[in-house]
Each structure stands twice: as structure tokens, then as C-alpha cells.
Amino acid sequence: MRNIYLKAMALCTVFLLFAGSIALAQQKITIKGKVTDAQSHSGIPGVSILDATLKKAIAITDQNGNYSVSIESDRSLLFRFIGYEDKTVKANKAEINLTMAPAEKYLKESVIVGYTTRSKGSVTGAVSMIDKKDIQDVPVANLEQLLQGKVAGMNIQNISGAPGFGGSINIRGISQLNVTGSGDEAFLSSSNPLLVIDNVPIDYDGGIDQSMLQPGAATGPLALLPPEDIESIEVFKDAQAASLYGSRGANGVIVITTRRGNSAVPIINFNNSIFLNTPPKLRPVWGGNLERDFRTFTILNYSEYDFLAKIQLATAQFITDSLNGFYNNSTDWQGLFYQKTINSNNNLQISGGNAKMNYKANLAYQMNQGIIKNTGFNKYTANMQLNLQPNDRLRISGQLFGALGQKQRGNGGGLTGNGAGNAFSSSLLPGPSHFLEFPELRAYLENVDDNNTVNIRSYLSVEYEVLKGLRLTSATSYDYYTDTRDRFNQAFSNNNQTMIYGFVSRRGELNTRNGLVYNFTTNPENSEKAHNLLVSVFTEANIKEREDHIRDMRNGPSDFYWGPRGYSPRFYPGNPWNNATGHNVNGTHESATFHALSYAGVISYNFRTKYNLDLSYRADGNSNSGTQSRYSINPSIGVRYNFTKESIFQDLNFIDYGSIRASYGINSRPASTRVNSLGYYSIYSDYNNNPAIGPDWGIMPNPYLQSEKAFQYNFGFDASVLKGKLSVTYDTYFKKSYNILQDQFLSDVSAYNRIQVNGGAIVNYGHEMVISARPFTSAKAGGFQWNVSVNGAIARSVITELPAGIQMSRYNDGGPFYIDLARKVGRNPMSNYIYQTEGIYQYNSEVPVDPIRGVRYKTGRGNGTTYFQAGDPQWRDVNGDYFLDDRDDNMISGNPEPLIVGGLSNTWSYKNFSLNIYASYLAKRTIMNTAMTARLMKLTQPANIEYSGELGGSVNIYDLDKIDYWKNPGDKAKYPNIYYVWRNGQIQPFRADQTLWEEDGSYFKINQITLGYTFRDFAFMKKAKLRSLRAYATAFNVAIFSNYSGPNPENVSQLGRDNINGYPSARSYTAGFTAEF
């Protein structure tokens, strides 16, 4: 076979030479002209101009797209540029101006699957792509914000508006059952996908465990990556696509490729913008006399006894002493905490080169100040890339990425609860002035919480073609982070004790991948008429190291001495700052090393690119897994049928392409840790004057722990008609995650409290659809164009198994909210397990009576007197014993996971203008309005400035006229009587664990409106040697439409809980320009 090729090639060469000799006899002419883009009509620099006969490059266009060639008069010129369709022109005129149209890519687009570049038409899995055009024109603190609603089946919620913080993300539903934390700070274990940036696998969270609310700078890798530097984003949703990413791919994979240089003329691209962050509309508050009247009225009328009311009033001087100028105020506290900020975003990119050598350097800076004073995020990144191909066989690619993220958290707090909602005090207190300070406010303004993340990522890959079609590949990356967090709390804001807290973490990940790729085709000229085979095998080794240190000092000498910084008494037993269980609430030191080794292979075969088959296999072992089961196996299979490649479709020109896909695969996720698979030793009290060391009885080691696994079926359909006027992608999947780690509690004879076992299983299934249409396409320059794209996904999740065959397990949430969760086989993975509120008792006579005991329905068990009355919530007595009790009156309700999520994008362009409106939506999700809970609960302490219960925070009075509460017998109200000073302690009408707070969290959000203007052929541009110039104005986070009664149905935790102390999402207005030289 090879001989035939050689002969053929020799023949060709002879023929070409012959042809060339004839050509020499022709007359040469010089042709000049300009090559412009068919859509933007700007000149294209770096277009290769070839002699069509010789297939030899003879010139390239300059930076404005102009060219000049001399060629024999009867020959043809071939214009070729990456991303455009080739164009051939007869060389018969002295001036030839032509336009080049962007290539209709369809199935030829390339996709990087399992670190190997493939054409999209041969990929059997479910892959969604996001183009760089979809993520421009908005300076955001975290790239994640721009991905919301762009991929069907990828659910992103910006749960916090704090700049630089991450939101929640999952692809095809949650596949986790474990919850940590409590109340509105309860977090579900991460279902985050794996991130691959320029071929380097990276933890999505950047090593921050969401459950560890305190330590860490909480700046993930996506917050550090500038969107301007991104070429494309691919999202792998199904098992086949993700299987080659091994044990970290079970939740899906996001592959991000940054831009590369591909222009012979160096391109300098400037993108500068300034943006204004504005706080959302603030809540109306009762201030001054309205507040004073409310407080006085409540105390006088709703205390248990008159004398108690009088005691309360006597001690609450701020209420009664209304003539005192100090208390005679109506301060708008909310206004003092929020601010508007003006920020800037700058990106400079220099790129150039050709296929032999190309380079890129990208520098970015963003200043993003938060809408709460003293918070914000600054980032500096530099990304440098160099690709070399000294000859046909060797390819070398190197990259260096460096970033610094500086985050100010102000007064600190968790991932979402870092807002100021708890600090808005009584309006009767005087605001800050020259003579006065207010501790809560000063705490927000002056406490320091600086979080710095330094990230350096280097990457080097070498590819060498040993034999024809057989390439040896080697890629090594090292990703290094330093996270620091430095806090200093001023004494007056911290019980007259200063607090100094320091956290330092160093994390490094070495990843090396070595393998062989073999490409074989029976017809190298035309793969559409051949058997094509790709075989790839590789091994991947991964070493992660982590070192955390924490210092925590209290009670320093003064606000001006930020030290000492060495010894940390908090970590020694017996000191009062340790919490009840002896663990430090602010995290512990950690030092860990992790090793993983994987073997993987893939066989991808297609016949005439019509029938495609993918087979892959990957085995992953790591040092954390149980000693008895080190390796987990991830096989997968996929098929794809490009039916439009059948010859009968050749004549049907209106169909661009069509294909159907099916795949199946198993992914795994490491579940075991050193603690649950090996156990650990603890130090007990002395025995014979020696400290006794023995196993910790909390958790029994389980060396048989296996990885959590998931199998997934995917069926898909892609089609496009009328030259892309309408295209559709549909996917449906059935995914079962099994072996999910669960606690199994042991009987006390075993000495141990619990063991972790592989017991849970969750099924996710659903449908995803993307429809793109171009209702108006104009062939004319500057004609009206309209592109619209809608995507949506219906996703359902169901628990199918719990350990030891049980049907239900309950998560005890604890204070202050006690919103227990139920996991029940046959239901969605997370449900609230709370009281059913069936309205408010209108009259006393509506309260049910125990016919046997002759008394009313009451809270609590036993013979107390906490009977219900009119104005109380009507909680369902499920077991009919006339006692309201957790154990038998809780009911399962709600689903914090949305049923439908999606997005919608509209682009109109006409002449030099373009307008893009992009929206996202979510439907059917249960939100617990715990912010309202907290607000109403605080009303029960009208005599206090600070709420004295577990909930904490200041007591302020929001506009109560906006709340539909019970006032008089006969009222049909939504909320109970709000004046419960004494009865709150009796029956807790505002308890959070009731369905009263459950609301539907459906919303429609307008994420972005961008108006752009492209400058073309202006004289000043030529003078300034500007190749292109574009100006744009963007409004981001424009509006959210929802029936939810809280401020924002998106700013809630993954478990659907709102937070009175949440950080609101800012709306931003941007004006910027992009210039290219």
C-alpha cells in the first residue's frame, strides 16, 4: 500500500514540475486588492495567498487585509485563512477585492476529547460548546457567572453576589447526598465538574471544600481566568465524553481552551472597560417614630404580664427616652453599608505566529469593588503560550499561567453569609458622625479580611511522530496555589477583644500524562471514503500536596498591634475558644499528600465518517481509597450515525447535517479518605503516667470502601437545516450514581459510633434541548441579522437506594433553624422534613380538641399548656395525638433542585450595530425563605437592639405593611400574628422548620444586554493604524422576575435556603472598547 502512495506522489511531483515548466512561459501580472470579512467587512490580516496550481504560498495580506502578488496571468489564486472557507479566484484583473466567509463548520469543528483533538462529527458523547463570542463584553469577577444558562443541563446559580466567590454548579443534577453545616449555611457536598484548562486538569473549587466555611481564600480557578483570553469552552455531560478524565470526571467535565496566536502579523488586542456596580433596591424599613410606636405597642400589649412589659420598657431606654437626642433618630442603616462602585477591567493580548511557531501573551487586570463597603476582588493574570513545530514530526507546546486574586471579605463570614443583613440596627440609634461611631458599622468598614490566592500553572507538552500516524505524547503540568487569609477584628467590634487570624495554605498538583496515539486511515486523501481509526493509550500520574496552617489569637493589646502571630492557643485542649466538641470552629491544620495513577486507552473507529464507534477504558488508583480496593474501572462505549452522509441526502441541499448518538459508560469518583478507610488514633487520658493512645471510636475504618460510581446512558440527536438557519440538538440521559458514601450508625456493642459504607444511589434523568435559529440572514454587507438560541433542560433526581436497605434517613439540621432534611428512596435526594403549615387559625374555635383529654392541640409532648390559639400557624397533627412533635409530625416536602433550567440568547445586528440580550430561567424549585423567618423572628424581641437568641443579629423593623399577617379574629392571613413577644417562647410561630416559608423559586432573569458598535473604515483608524475598533455598553444582571417574596430567588444556597445575611447580587453597567492593532 505504502508503495502505491509513494509512486502516486512521485507521479504528482513529476506532473507538477512539468506544469511549472510550462507556466514559466506565461506572462506575469501584478494583482492588488483587499481581503475582507464577509460579516464584519473589515480587512483580514495574515490571509495566505497560494498559487492554486502549485499549492504554494506566494503572499500574505498585511494588517489591513491588503495584498499584492505577481502571478502568471491564467492561473488562479487560492485564499486561505483559518476559520474561513477557501476561496479561489482567476488571476485575470489587476485589482481583485474579495470577501471571505467564515467556514460553515458543522461537524468539522474540532473538539478536544480525552486530551485528543477530534472532529465534532465523530464524537459520540454529549458535548456542548460555548463560543468566545458568548462570553465577552462583561467584566465579571468569576467566569462562572457568564456560563449560566449557556449549556443545556448545566445548572449554575450565583448563590452569592460577593465578588470573586463561586456559585453553585452541577451538570445533569446533583449526585451527592451528604450535607454539612446547618440552617442557611448548610451545604451539600460538591457535585462540581472537573475543569480542564488548556489540557491541565484542575479542581473546580481550587481546593476549597464548600463545607469548610471558614478557612481558605475561597477563590476558585474560574475566578482567576480572564474571559477575554478564552477561545472556546466545551462541556462534556455524558459518561462517554467524561470517561477519559477518570475518577474526577463523574460530575462532567468543562474543557477550556485559551486563545492561540495564528496570525503572521502580530496582533495586539486591547480590551478596556469601566463598570459601575450598583446595589439592588433596598428593603423599605420602618424608622423613627414608626419603629418606636411598633416596639412600644408590642411590648405593652403582648408581654406575658404587665409588670414584665414595664421591666422591658424600663431597660429599653432607646425606646422610651424619645426626647433624648441620642435616641431620637431615624437612621437609614442599609444605606450606610451599601455603596456604588466604579471599577475597571483591562486586558491586553499580543499574539502572532504561524503553524510552525506561534505565541500568545495575555495580561489582565480587574478591579471589582463590592457593593458592601470594604469588600471586593482584584485580579491580575498573565497567560503566556508558545507553540513550536520545528518539523513535521515534532510539536512542542508550553504555557505559563500566573494569577493573583485579592479578595477583601470585609467583616468575614461564610460563602454566602458575608452580607450585612444582620448588622442593620434600630433606626432610633444615631448614625455615625464626627463624635460617634457605631460598632457594627465600624466592623464592616474597618475589620480586615484579606484573602490572597497566588496561582502559577505551567504546562509543557511534547508530541513526536515516531512513525507515520504514530505519535508519542508527553504532557506535564504543575499547578501551584498559595492561599492566605489574614483577618484582624478591631476590639470594639469583637467583645472588646481584638482578633487576629491567619490562614496559609500551599497546594501543589503535579500531573503527568504519557502515551501513544495512532491514527490510521485507508484513504488519507479523503477520510469520507475510508476506514479511519484512532487508537490512544496513556498513563496519567498525579501527585497532590497540601499544607495548611492556621493562627488564631484573641485579646491582643490594642487595635494597633496586629500580633503576635506565632503561637495559637486555640488549638490546645482546654482553652475556652474551642467549641463544645473540642474541634476548632475555624478549621484545623492539615498536611496531606495524595497520589493517583491511571491507565487509559481509547479506540475510535469510523467508516467514511458515517458510522462511528468509540470504546474507552480507564483504570484509576489512588492513595486515599480503601486498601482493599485501590483501583476503579471506567469503561465506556459510544456510537454515532451521521445519517446525512448517506448518498440519498447528497441531493437534499436543505439539510446541512444530521446525526444520532448513543453512549454508555461508567465513571467513578474517589470517595474514601484516609479517615474513613484507615481510621485514626486519638490520645486518651493517662494510664500508668503514660498517655494512652488508641483508635478513635467515632468512625470505624472501612478498608473495603470503593469509589462512588455512576453509569450513564445518553441518546442524542443533532440536525441543522437551511445552511444553519435552524439547528437542533437534543439529548436525553439516564444516570445512576451508586456506591455513594453514607454513614451507617452502629449499635453500641461495636464500640464504634459509625462506619462509612458504599450504600446510597441516586438516579438523574432528563432531557436537554438546544434550538438555534437565524430567522434573518442577509447576504448584503451590513444587512439585518438575527440569531436566536434557546436551550433548556428538564432534570429529575431520585434516590434509589440507602445503606442497609433502609427507606429513609434524616439529617438533623440543628440550630438556629432546625430545618431537618429527609432522604427517602423514591424521592428527590434532598427534601425538607418539616411541619406542614395549613394556614393560620382564624378563630380560637378552629383549634382542634383532643376528645379524650378535653384540651386543645398544643406544641410539645406531655401535659404542658402551650395550646394553640387564633393567629397561630395551623400545623398539621399528622399522627393525631394532639401534640406537635418533631418525631411524628414532620412531613417530607419540597425539592431544592430545579426541574427546569435554561437560557435564551438573542442577537440582532444591523450595519455597525449589534444588540445582544441574554437571559436565563429556572422553574420549579423550592426555596425556604429563611430570610423572612429571621426577620419575623426578630420582631419577637421588640425591647432589644440585638436579638438574644441563637439567630443573633440586630433587631430592625422592615416595613410590616408589606406583610400579610394575622391581626384580628377572622383574618385569613399568610403569616401568623407578628406581635408574639411572649408566645414566641411558648409555641414558636416563626419556627423555620415549617412549610410556611416554602416558596416556589422559579425565575426569569435578564442576565445581559449589550449594545455594540463596530467602527469601520474611519480615517482616524487608518491614521492610528487601528485594525479594528469596537465600542460596547453592557448592563449585566439587569432584572429578575419571580413570584418569590424574598429579594432574589437566585441568592439562596444550594439547598434552597435564603439568608438574611446574604450578599446581594449587584447590577453592573459597563462601557468599554476593544481595539486591535
Binding site: Y641, F643, E646, S647, I648, I660, A662, F715, F717, T732, F734, V763, Y765, H767, R796, V798, T800, E801, I806, Q807, M808, R810, K824, V825, G826, R827, Y833, S845, V847, V849, D850, P851, I852, R853, G854, V855, R856, R861, G862, N863, T865, Y867, V878, N879, G880, D881, F883, R887, D888, D889, N890, M891
Partner: protein, 353 residues
Amino acid sequence: MQTINSREWKRLFTAASLFTLLLGATGCYKNLLPEEKDHLSNNMNYTTETFIANLGKTNVFINVFNADYSTQPLEFTIENVRKGDKQPAPFLRDLVDTRQWKTWYNGTEKTIAEIEAKTFVQKRPILDIRPNSGEIIFWNVDSFKVPYDMYYFDVRVKNKGGERLFTNLTLDLRRPKPYDPYIYDDITGIQKPLNSGGVVKAHDVRNLRDYQQRVLTKDSVDVYFVKTGNAKNTVSFRFFNRDSTVIPLTVFDMQRWDSLYYYSPMADIRVKFGFNQRFDRDSTIVTYDIPNPFPVLTDVSGGLDMASLYFDYKRVNFGRQELGFVAVRFAILEPGEWTVAVKFRQTPKFEDD
């Protein structure tokens, strides 16, 4: 060419039908999932397994079952009621008239009839169980119906997820207590030892002195409950000196006879003591009409609700005016005319010094 085309059509058709089939199958995702079943916890249990009940009153055992978050509603049924010798005792499941409540007793009712109007009569099995919460009730019957003895029974708990049988629950049925505190042992029927409940003492006394100026404690005041007839439900109070001479009620000169209240923990209110208060001709006996049982919720509260009555007086003790009282606290379960006789072991001094 024709044959190629038809082969392709066939292939396309196969692919299309296969795809439609698979798509159709996606509608059946739900069928691949397990049905939601009710949860029946392994840790469900009766926290009390022996129920001590007395004849002659309604016995309610609340808060005895721990469902441990099993899916509600649970269904409870009593099975296999038997005596100690394993002989069945079906009479415990006989239906009897029981008094139940339509609206709650709030303690402010003006007449006995008003209280009675809040109740209704329903036939229930003597040994009863609340159908969804598992609370055990032994209704008010006398020993003609059921002899006092140890009985055993099983409770079956069911929901859609399965069922569990709690066996050998014990009903320890004892003699009736006509009044409370009762001086006779409800197992043996023998009077209790004098130092442990064999005689009822005053609930409280204050500033009670005898003629020798000795302070009399409440232990020196005996209280006797005597049933004097069956015509009506009444309670009368009489006071006797050490030598059993009658003390006239006029000595309680601070007693506000028209506003005597006791606190009912169940109704969470101070309830007016009795109805239709009347004195006999020489003011030695005070009599009240009472509902039965008295206080109204005493039996269903498990003895928590008791009536108390304070007899107040004042006297000058060596030139200093003192307020004193003698208090009794009791409940009456057996209907009839009851006399509460308060007898001082030392003759108290009510006159001024």
C-alpha cells in the same frame, strides 16, 4: 444505483425506528426507579411497656410510642388481649359508653351543665388505642365489668412500608381510687402504712398554733374523705378539734367564700372551686356541687390536675396580726356525696392573744 438507494433507505429506516424506540423508552425512565415506600424505622418502640391503670377512672397514657420518624400515618391495632395464663380476655375489648369532649374545657364554665354540654358519649372498647399515635387508653369501668388483674396484649403497627408487632405489653389493672390522695394500696386494698400515705395530711398550713403557742405543722392536720351518699355529686368540708368537737367555719374570718379558686395546670387557668356553695344552718359545713371527676381533667391529666382549697383566717399573735391558713388538695373520682373532714391533732387557737 437503485439497489444502493433502497439499501440505504432500509438502513435509515432501521436507524430511525431504533432511535424512535429509544426515545420512546425514555418515557419509561420512571419505571426503572423504585417506588416510594413508607419508612418503618427499626428503632420504633413503646417507651412504656407496662400500663398501670385504675378502675373507676379514665386512664390515658400519652407520649408512650416513639415512631422514630417512620412515615406517618401509622396504624395501630390492639391484638391478642389475654390474661396471665394466656387465656383470652375478650371482655377488655367490649364497647362501653365513654365520655369525650366536643370542645375544650376551659375552666370558666358557670355550671356543671355547661361542662357536660361540652362532652358527648361514644362507645369505645374498654382497652382502647389511638389509631395513629399508639397511645393507650383504659376507659372508666368498674370491677363488675373487668376484674383487676394483670393483662397482656400486643400492638400491631402498620404503614404501607410494612408492619411490626409489639408483643407482651402489660396492663396492670388495679383497684379503683375513689379519691386522691388515697390511703389504701391499690394492689392489695390494705391501708398503707401511716408514715407513707396511710393517712392524708393537710396540703399546707401557715401560722397555725395551738394554745401552748406551739407551731403546728401540716403533719398535725389529718384529712378524712368520707362518702355519705349517692344522691348528688357534692363535696363538703368540716373541721374538728383534737377532741372531735366541731370547729365552726366562722373561724376562717379571712375566707372570701365567693371567690375561691384553684389553679388547673391542664386548663392553664385559675378555676373557681365547685358550684352552688352553701353552708349548713350552724355554719359548720360548707358544701359544693362538683362535676365528676373533680377537678374535671384530673383523670386524663394523670393526676396532675388537683383541686386545692385554702381556708384563711387571721388572728393577733402576741400583739402581731398574722394571716394563717389550712389548705387541702385533693381530687374526687368516685361520684357521690363526699365529706372532707379536717381533724387537728392539737386543738388550734383561732382567737386573738
